[in-house]
Amino acid sequence: MTDLMVQPSPRTAEFLRAPTPTAYKGASGAAIRSHYDVPSEFYALWLDRNMMYSCAMWEKPGTLEDAQVRKIDYHIEQSQAAGKARVLDIGCGWGGTLRRLSDVAGIGSAVGLTLSPAQAAWIAKDPRSNVDVRVEGWADHEPTGPYGAIISIGALEHFARPELSDDDMVQAYREFFLKCSRWLEPGGRLSLQTMAYGTATRDKINPFILEHIFPESDLPTLSAIVRAFNGVFEIERLRNDRMDYAETYRQYGRRLRARRGEAVDLVGDDVVRRFETYCGLFILGFHTGAMDLLRLTLRKL
């Protein structure tokens, strides 16, 4: 059975030893793998056909797949990625956004970053000639040229750890924004989607989530994000679509229930229960406003 718990990684140990830590570079590969390397076939049972594992857009009634494509298209539009020579997707998951960029957005090429080898292997099963997927974090990425647009959906959640002070979290996010800005062409845009604390604070989030679902990760606050990009990007648009995420998790839970037997065969009852609990907690969290779902359009200064 795949264990969602994670062993301390060398990078974490190194970070903890460092007398004057440099800015935190995000959750370790081991932590990301513990969540996302439950076999991709498990996620394929209940995610939509494009394997989008992030908040959809429910502007009108339709299927989960419709709402996920609407979300991808929103980010393509906001980042103005269509027709650009080079586009970067930070935290590319199973490649839904990359395939859409390649298939309909008329881009020259796209680069996707993920820390999960299983996700990269999944993308390789349905490749595009102008898409390059790399198993590396944003902190280690060395682009071969400037990007015309950057999209990052559901990755910022993994850039800070619960132990970091507020200032260190801002510094970690700032490093990310500085890199994105450096990589973008003049006036280029970053379309960013992330969960964030709403009315909840760190100590009020159920420890189940941090221990079992997103080890080594902590959510940002809107104010930390704003402090982090201040002077680096200007904001063009900000939406809080938390009800979209409550509905997305409702769909996830429903779809997982419909395929429960197969899911248990694949990963065991404990893991399925963990995901059921997590879906329920996130329905509650987003419905009550304990957590927000932020969509930000940022333009390089």
């Binding site: 159920n206 189940f208 059921e276 609990t277 329920g280 907690l281 329905i283 509650l284 419905h287």
Partner: protein, 90 residues
Amino acid sequence: MKSSAAKAVTNFRDQGAIETWIASYIARVIEKDAGELDENATFESFGLDSVSVVGMTGDLGQWLEREIDPVVVYDHPSIRGLAAYLAASR
């Protein structure tokens, strides 16, 4: 159609039965006697956390063979209120 109608009848639970189920569930979680629980008190006052709420609505949904959104617990935050809502909304 016939079989789903038959199913609906066999799975019918009235408000009293649902109240009993919820009280027993909470009693197990907080290790008290079900008879001691005030059916009009809020779930929060029993010390139920969000994981317990999610577990309860999941198990209750299995028992009633219907989907129960965990947010209904926030709209109907007592044993009696939740049971009345579920009995009326089926």
